[in-house]
Each structure stands twice: as structure tokens, then as C-alpha cells.
Subunit: 464 residues, 2 copies
């Protein structure tokens, strides 16, 4: 969304760094270096390279060198060149694996992710343009205050903790700054909860389907996982009530659930709360996608606090609303729990970086504006995507999502085989078992709808 018309030549020169190699001709070395940027996903699918003359000037080489390098890349299937529109990055279907990871399909889950022409395996979004503005306007006087110290704030920058607490208060949950622990994205928040709160052998309730990063974190912590189904109206609360008594912990996403996009209705939220309170069930409410709203009902409030104190731990993130590259998430809990989790984080990596916390604190004061921007764009993409599917895949079924960036589609067929056929055609999608604690959901795919509609339609055509 913040993509420039074409990649700036000076910026590209910096990215290329020391690209010259003693043992090969300049055009070949330049082609190799550009190839690495494509393979590493720094230059993304569709990115327009600078005009040859501009890049040549920035690199201090002849235009002929750049022309040869572009031609070599085109021959390797890495570039498409069209008269008038310049050279654009293209991912060849035979390209090797990169090291880029995304939620829903971490590299750690054993799949070797391959780069493809059309990568719809991730629901993660590009940055809002607000992020660029905030970075360019970092308050150097505020920074000076931090630079004078050693830069370690174990629980997070006080200003960010205060801004996040204010967000919870605005959503109806009384919260003070010292109830917030800043983490490296919501993945670290989940990991800290799993490693700190689960004793090997504990029974942990997770959603079926659910967020893969959490399923893996609890499994790594030694939990025995019990699946609670997610229906068309959200978590199956009758089922939950039956299994809650013997469980040590529940992990759930009542708002804009990943991967289904379903939000629990208000009455069901209250019943969930009653069940949690009655069983004294320690509950992690992951609100990572709660900012990405598609329907007219606005951001769902967090679960109210049940009578038992400290039963609900909330997880949030700036990755969905603003940008994943900030790597800022948080945990909201009672003070003793925050202390305990802060110690666990300190042993991992001491503290979160200051600069990203400054930028995030500034942007969260404009969270409503950011939410409107995300909602406006996502709704437009969703309408386009639904129209494409109605025409080309009339047999596919899904529950209209209330939030998120993807459709959770029942293909009515073996979706694992479907995804594998698509992969061979250069389209990456994630099939249902990746979101299942029991490797179920085999007829499902998660289909992100936020790409330009022509890319989406092209991908759908290849999914058969």
C-alpha cells in the first residue's frame, strides 16, 4: 500500500551493497545480487526496477552493464520487461526456497516454503502509509532522553505501555500501564504464555481450526491439546463447557478469529465469560486480528473480566493494524502475572527495541484513523474477491468473515491435493491442516483476499 511507483535507484544501490565480485564480470555480478534481493523477498512480486540509466548512475557503472544484468535476470525468469512500463519483478515457479516466514505457516512447521509467482500463503499485510510518516517524524528530543540511558526497558517503553493501556480503557476494560508487557509481536506473547504457564502434561484447549503459531507453541511447551470446534457463529460453547473442568488453560480468538474471520456475538461473549469464571479457567484471549473489521459492528470489546481475578490474559499486536515489520505486540494481564512474564522475556532477549516502540506509541494514538483505513481497503478487496469467486468457483462455501484478511473456504474436495497442484503451477495457498491441532480441515483453504483483484483472479483460476 506504500509501494512507490518504482524502486528508488539510490535505495536499490544501498540494498545491493558490495555487489561487485572479483571473479565475475560486472553484469553477471549485478544480476546475481539483484536475484538475491528477489529470492530474499526484499524486492517483492510486481516491484518495478529503476530505469537502467538511473540505476547505472547510482551504482557508478555504465548503462550497458545494467542493461545486460536486467536481460540476464529476464532470461532467468526473474523479470518481465514491457515496452513503456519498465522491468518488473517476477517470481519464477521453479525458483528455490527463500527464508521468508509468515504467520499460519512458520518455517518451523517443517514445510520448505518455495517462492512462487503468486504467493497467497500469508494473511500479513503491507504497511499503512502512516508508518512511513511516523518514522520520518520520530521525535529526536524524546529519543535523546532514551539514548542517555542504556536503552533496556524490560516491560516496554513507559509511553507505549501507557498508550496501549489507554486503548483497553477506551474499549471498556480498566487498565493501567503496569498491566502491559511489550513483546516482539504477538507470536512472542503467545510463546511466553505457553512456556511460562504450561507444565508438560497440562491439558490446553485450542480452537479447531485455530492459529498455527499458538498450536505449535503449546505443543512445544509439552501441553496435551484438546480441540474445541469453531462453528459458523464462533467457538462451540456447549463443547467448551463440557471439557473446561479438567483443562489448565484455554487459548482463543473471540474477535476476528484466524483463520475463519468469525467474531463471537455479544451474548456468546458473555456466556464464554460465565463459563471461564465458573470453571476458574485461565484463558488467553488473542486479539491479534481484532483491529481488522469487515462488517458494520466495529471493533469487538475484549472479554470483560470474570469475577475470578486475573483469569483472562489478553494478547494484542501492532502487526495487523500498522505493520508486521515493527515487531511490536503486547500482553495485558494483572500485575503479578506481568512481573512473571517480564522475567521470562528478560531471560529470552532482555527487552524490546526502543525505536519501534516510539513509532508504535505515536501511531496507536491515531488507531481509529488506521482502523478506518484498513477497513475501507479490506472491504473493497473483499467485495472484489467475492465477485470473482461467485463467477469462477460457485461451489465453494464460506462463512462471511467479520474481520481479518482471508476467506476460510470449504472447497468440497481434497484441499491438500488442490494446494499441491496449485503449488506446481506457481500459486501458494495454505490448506486447512496447517490450522488444525489434529491435522483435520482437509477440505479447507485459507485464501487471503487483500491482493489486487487481477492477481487474486489469476490465482483462483490456477486453484482447481
Amino acid at each position: 500500500m506504500a509501494r512507490a511507483e518504482h524502486v528508488d535507484s539510490a535505495a536499490l544501490a544501498r540494498l545491493l551493497g558490495g555487489w561487485r565480485a572479483d571473479d565475475m564480470p560486472l553484469p553477471h555480478a549485478l544480476a546475481d545480487a539483484l536475484d538475491e534481493l528477489v529470492a530474499g523477498n526484499v524486492l517483492v512480486e510486481g516491484a518495478a526496477l529503476p530505469p537502467q540509466r538511473a540505476l547505472a548512475a547510482a551504482l557508478g557503472v555504465s548503462r550497458g552493464t545494467v542493461a545486460e544484468a536486467y536481460a540476464e535476470l529476464a532470461a532467468r525468469g526473474r523479470l518481465t520487461s514491457r515496452q513503456g512500463s519498465g522491468s518488473r519483478v517476477r517470481r519464477d515457479r521453479s525458483a528455490g526456497g527463500g527464508d521468508h516466514v509468515v504467520d499460519g505457516r512458520l518455517a518451523s512447521f517443517g514445510s520448505t516454503r518455495r517462492l512462487a509467482e503468486l504467493d497467497l500463503s500469508s494473511g500479513a499485510l503491507p504497511a499503512l502509509s502512516l508508518v512511513r510518516e511516523a518514522v520520518s517524524a520520530v521525535d529526536l528530543c524524546e529519543l535523546d532522553v532514551y539514548l542517555a540511558g542504556d536503552g533496556y526497558y524490560a516491560a516496554g517503553l513507559p509511553r507505549l505501555r501507557a498508550v496501549v493501556a489507554e486503548q483497553y480503557r477506551a474499549q471498556g476494560l480498566p487498565t493501567e500501564a503496569d498491566q502491559i508487557l511489550v513483546t516482539s509481536g504477538s507470536q512472542q506473547a503467545v510463546w511466553l504464555c505457553a512456556s511460562s504457564l504450561v507444565t508438560p502434561g497440562d491439558e490446553v484447549l485450542v480452537e479447531e481450526p485455530g492459529y498455527r503459531g499458538a498450536i505449535e507453541a503449546f505443543r512445544t511447551a509439552g501441553a496435551r491439546l484438546t480441540a474445541v470446534p469453531v462453528r459458523a457463529d464462533g467457538l462451540d460453547l456447549d463443547h467448551l463447557d463440557r471439557v473446561a473442568r479438567r483443562a489448565a488453560l484455554l487459548y482463543c480468538q473471540p474477535a476476528a478469529h484466524n483463520p475463519t474471520g468469525i467474531s463471537l456475538p455479544a451474548a456468546a461473549r458473555e456466556r464464554l465469560n460465565e463459563i471461564v469464571g465458573r470453571h476458574g479457567l485461565l484463558t488467553i484471549e488473542d486479539r491479534s486480528c481484532a483491529d481488522l473489521i469487515l462488517d458494520d459492528r466495529g471493533v469487538r470489546p475484549p472479554l470483560p473480566d470474570p469475577p475470578g481475578p486475573g483469569l483472562v490474559i489478553r494478547i494484542g499486536t501492532a502487526s495487523k493494524l500498522l505493520w508486521g515489520g515493527l515487531r511490536v505486540g503486547w500482553i495485558r494481564a494483572e500485575r503479578p502475572m506481568i512481573k512473571r512474564l517480564t522475567q521470562a522475556k528478560a531471560a529470552l532477549d532482555l527487552a524490546a527495541p526502543v525505536l519501534d516502540q516510539m513509532v508504535t506509541a505515536e501511531l496507536l494514538t491515531q488507531a481509529d484513523r488506521a482502523r478506518r483505513e484498513r477497513t475501507r481497503r479490506l472491504r473493497a478487496h473483499l467485495a472484489d474477491a467475492v465477485a470473482v469467486l461467485a463467477e469462477r468457483r460457485p461451489a465453494w462455501r464460506w462463512t462471511p468473515p467479520s474481520g481479518g484478511t482471508a476467506l476460510w473456504i470449504d472447497t468440497g474436495t481434497d484441499a491438500v491435493a488442490l494446494a499441491e497442484r496449485a503449488r506446481r503451477r506457481g500459486v501458494l495457498v495454505t490448506a486447512g491442516p496447517a490450522f488444525s491441532p489434529a491435522n483435520a480441515q482437509r477440505s479447507r483453504i485459507r485464501l487471503p483476499f487483500w491482493r489486487p483483484v487481477d492477481q487474486f483472479a489469476q490465482a483462483v483460476d490456477l486453484l482447481e
Copy 2:
């Protein structure tokens, strides 16, 4: 080192955020909010608050409100006010615990750290002024390239990986960018190695004394720890040779060892290398402090690669050279090991933040300038500190450090009791057992020497 003359009033207003409280008078609410910034270590010892008139203007309150708030803070022992020099932050010895952590004494190690007038418990430095320059000059065109994608680079930003690899090459160790994994500081690098490479019950060799964060990480991973003594000339290699055969792994800091500051001489480095190769001993060379050089022999090169491939894994960081608040560290290893550790990091927190990596990449291209700056300042502080100690503590003994930010002092007495007496007087120092795998080193303290000499002298006077 980057401290402004006094804290900027506009910056302070931002830090204070929503400081007004419905239920208390403005001066009292302002005093409370300022108090929190002091307790949270955002306003550090000695920081000069803005003139009353300036802060009043920035907050939109009367000067009288600010005057009352300052007076209340002074009454609480949080400020010293002197005619002409304004109001400066002071840490009262009875102040409550903060959540600030430092290396060598993580919050996770069970000590409740208390804020004090003179905090010498950390060897971590304020930022070099270069950091401010780099933040204010972030290349927005380069950033645009990243913002157009989802911002997840599992192994690190390609440009930073290339710059770090270039550093190793310049130090004589052939290294490609894909042999680098970017981590959240060297603490996460150590943690990843410990959790990925140690099987519970493995014997791990650690230094006595050594880096506490590593000792704890290996212990948490289930290792049985065996101590290898560090002598006046570095790691005891005869001892190492005797215990190496049965060990699974060695963790060591051959250059500017923490806490002693000792660097292994060149001949001993070669012998260490020979021992590692002969026993096929997997070795983690932590070079976190290697940039902070005090003697005339320059940065010590990394251990050469022994004949056995992949035996030595190197850890580095930007925290010492540039600033800990960037939270950028890295691991240098062979490609298969980097792949394995990248997967482990992805499960923890997906990836490192983009902005800090951009700033660090830019600054590491000026690493020589940064090293000269650090060395120049640290040498001056060391000379001052040695003069103070020669006069006031002639019985204390230490080996002159070749690098680092602290003296490893043999007090000739019970240093744990000494540190406890000092704490009651408002001076924090870390006693030897914090750096020992066996809770030994009871006559030692680690005394950072990088503070202004009057503070250092004042602390030494209270250490008795």
C-alpha cells in the same frame, strides 16, 4: 553521552502523555506522572528537567502548577533543585523497585533490583551520538521497499546480513551473508543456541567467572555445567583440554571477556583452536564485548575455523558498540546451522524488526569510527577510575582489562556483604557470585568505570 543539556520540554510533555487525573489536583497528578518516569528509569539520574516556564507552556498549564509539582517531587526526594542549575533527577535510596534490567543481573535471576542514587550494577553504556544521526537520516526510499512487503525477514534484513558478513571478512574470517542470523541482541543469540543445541543432561563447559545470561540460558536448557577457570591470561587451556573430551559444548568469550575484560593472547587463541579441533568440540565464541578495546592491540580477530567444519559458532551484537536499545545481535555459523537456528527464532518471534536493522546496517559501515570513539572515552574513564582506586582502595586488586566497561576487583573481603552494605547506602554493585556457575567469586565485585569520575569516586567511598 548523547544527553542533552536539559530534557526538552516538548519531549517531556509527550512522555508524560495523558498525565491528568480526574480525581486529583493538577500539581499532584503531574508530580505522580514525573515520579513514574523516574521510577521507570526514563528520566535517568542527573537528568535536568526543563525550566518551569517551558514545561508549563508545553503542557498548557500555569507555571505555578509546574512549580508545585517540582516542589512535591523534591519533597519526595526525587529532585535536587539548585539556584541557577535548575532541577535534576535524584534517586532516593528508599525508592521502590523498577523493572529495568541489565546484563549480568537479569530480573530473571531472582533479585529484586532496587533503584538507587548510584547504580553501578550494569556495564551497559549510553548510546554513541552516531545512533541519533543515523535515526534522523533513515533512508525513506529504502524503507519504502520494505513497507511494500509484510516486513518479515526470518533470518534478518539482507543488507544487515551482508554488512555483518563483511565485518567478519575484514577480521579475517571468510563469511557470506547467508551465514548470518540476526537476533534480538546477543542474549537471544545465546538463548537460541542453548535451547537448540543442548539436550537435557548434556555437559556444557562455561567460564568461571563468566556471563550470567549464558550460564542461566544453558541451565534452563537442562545442561550440566562444568566450570573452566579464567586466569589472569584468560581461559585455563590445560584445564579445558582435560575436560573437553566428554563435553557437548563450550561457551567462551576469548576477546574482552565479561566480567574480567581479559583477552586471550594470540598464541593461546591458536591453542584453543587446536583443542577445539582435536576434540571436535562444538564451541560458541561470544564476541559481544570484542568491540570495546582498552589496550593498544586493537580488535582481536575471531577464532579461526578449526579443520572440523562448523565447530565454532560466533555471537556478536551492536549493543556494546552502538546502543543496547537497538536490540540487534547476530549469530555467524555454517549455513545448515543458520537454517536450524532461523527456524527456532521463527517459532519464538518470527523475525527481527526492520527499522533497527536499517539503522544498525548503516552504522556498522562506520564501525571503525564508532570503535575509536568508544575506545577514546573508555580509556579516559579507566585512567580516572584507576587513579581514584589507587588513592582510596589501595588494597583492591585486579588484572588490567584489555577491553570492556568494568574492573573485576578482588576486594580481599566478603564482597557479597560489601555489596549489601553499599545497597543500604544507595549504591548498587554486582558481587562475584552473579558471574559464577557455582556461586563462587565471593571476594569479587564487577565495578563499571564508565560513569563520570565524581560519581565513581562517590560510589567507591560508599563501598566499604
